[in-house]
């Protein structure tokens, strides 16, 4: 009983001097406390890092997924930008006034067959033999096969391609034929007509395949032989197969 009373008195008394008592102990213990605090901090950080690993893994996976989504969005925006630029170019040269156009995108290329696959088909009003051009009015080819949602474009360099053309601003007519391997030539040009390297070929309305005035290419090499009734010339088509992305299909107005 006496002990309890004594203890209570001591405790109450200590409360009056608690600042001094605590200050003394803090002063004495400060170096040890600092070391213990640092040690505790390091050890807990170490364990926290271990437990964080799982979260990091999940966070990493989430971020990867986010990056993928953003990349997809970015790619889609780039496509839209490209499409926008194509349309702007087409508007600038007044293509829409001359023809009724359907914007299409190239989704596949088969260079060995000189053909392209585009993302529009019969559902979108595409039909066989419709001309396909670039936004600069360069002739690319014509629709050779039509599916519901896709179409196949036969390039002017295809061996099966043949149409009438003429030298720009001159009355020289001929037939442009594909040679395969992205090459084409003009044939059936009378011997008395003078072809020059650099002459520009445009489509002629004669064959009825393409509307007149579409740019075909320029003459690269003239092959003239007295033994032949007609002269030929190699053509360099204006379109660049590597850069074909957005194209226009000329649909009947």
């Amino acid at each position: 009983m006496l002990f309890a009373v004594l203890a209570a008195v001591v405790i109450v008394a200590l409360n009056f001097f608690q600042n001094k008592v605590r200050n003394f102990f803090y002063l004495v213990s400060a170096p040890i406390q600092a070391s213990l605090w640092q040690a505790g901090d390091r050890v807990s950080n170490f364990f926290a890092t271990i437990t964080e690993f799982r979260n990091l893994k999940k966070e990493n996976e989430d971020l990867k997924l986010k990056v993928q989504l953003l990349l997809t969005e970015n790619a889609s925006l780039r496509e839209l930008k490209k499409e926008n630029e194509t349309l702007r170019t087409a508007l600038n040269i007044g293509l829409e006034k001359e023809f009724k156009l359907t914007l299409v995108q190239v989704i596949g290329k088969d260079i060995s067959q000189d053909s392209l696959i585009i993302n529009r088909g019969s559902k979108h009003g595409i039909a066989k033999n419709m001309p396909v051009i670039t936004e600069q009015k360069n002739l690319v080819g014509r629709i050779s096969e039509v599916y519901d949602d896709f179409s196949k474009v036969m390039l002017i360099s295809s061996k099966d391609s043949s149409f009438d053309a003429r030298i720009s601003e001159q009355e020289i007519f001929g037939v442009v034929k594909g040679r395969g391997g992205l090459k084409a030539f003009i044939d059936r040009v009378p011997q008395d007509k003078e072809l020059k390297v650099g002459d520009i070929l445009v489509t002629s309305v004669l064959g009825g395949v393409f509307p007149a005035g579409l740019l075909v290419g320029e003459i690269k090499e003239v092959k003239k032989s007295d033994l032949e009734p007609f002269q030929q010339a190699e053509i360099s088509p204006f379109f660049d197969i590597g850069k074909l992305g957005n194209l226009f299909v000329i649909t009947p107005s």
Partner: protein, 103 residues
């Protein structure tokens, strides 16, 4: 006895320091293990119920925890002392551990 008390003072001082500076970094469900209390309870369990070392331990450890805590002085002393008395009473009246002498 004096040697033991001095030893207990040292141990409880170090434990209180560790409690305040080291163990606070390791919280489990927002709580920190009170090693001083654990030691006090263990001493009171395994001490001869007729001896008072366990009660002294509770006072010493409570004192040091009070030093390093922000609560009013005497809070931990009271808690530890009551815990020690509780354990001592239980073991004095209801529990008998074979290898601990009762006299």
């Amino acid at each position: 006895m004096l040697k033991t008390v001095i030893l207990l003072v040292l141990i409880f001082y170090i434990l209180a320091l560790a409690q305040a500076s080291f163990l606070v970094h390791f919280q489990i469900f927002g709580m920190v293990l009170n090693v001083s209390l654990l030691l006090v309870v263990l001493i009171n369990i395994f001490e001869n119920p007729q001896k008072y070392l366990g009660l002294w331990s509770s006072l010493i450890s409570g004192f040091f925890l009070d030093i390093f805590s922000t609560r009013p002085f005497g809070f931990w002393i009271l808690i530890f002392f009551l815990a020690a008395i509780f354990v001592k009473l239980i073991f004095r009246k209801h529990v008998r551990i074979p290898f601990i002498a009762r006299t």
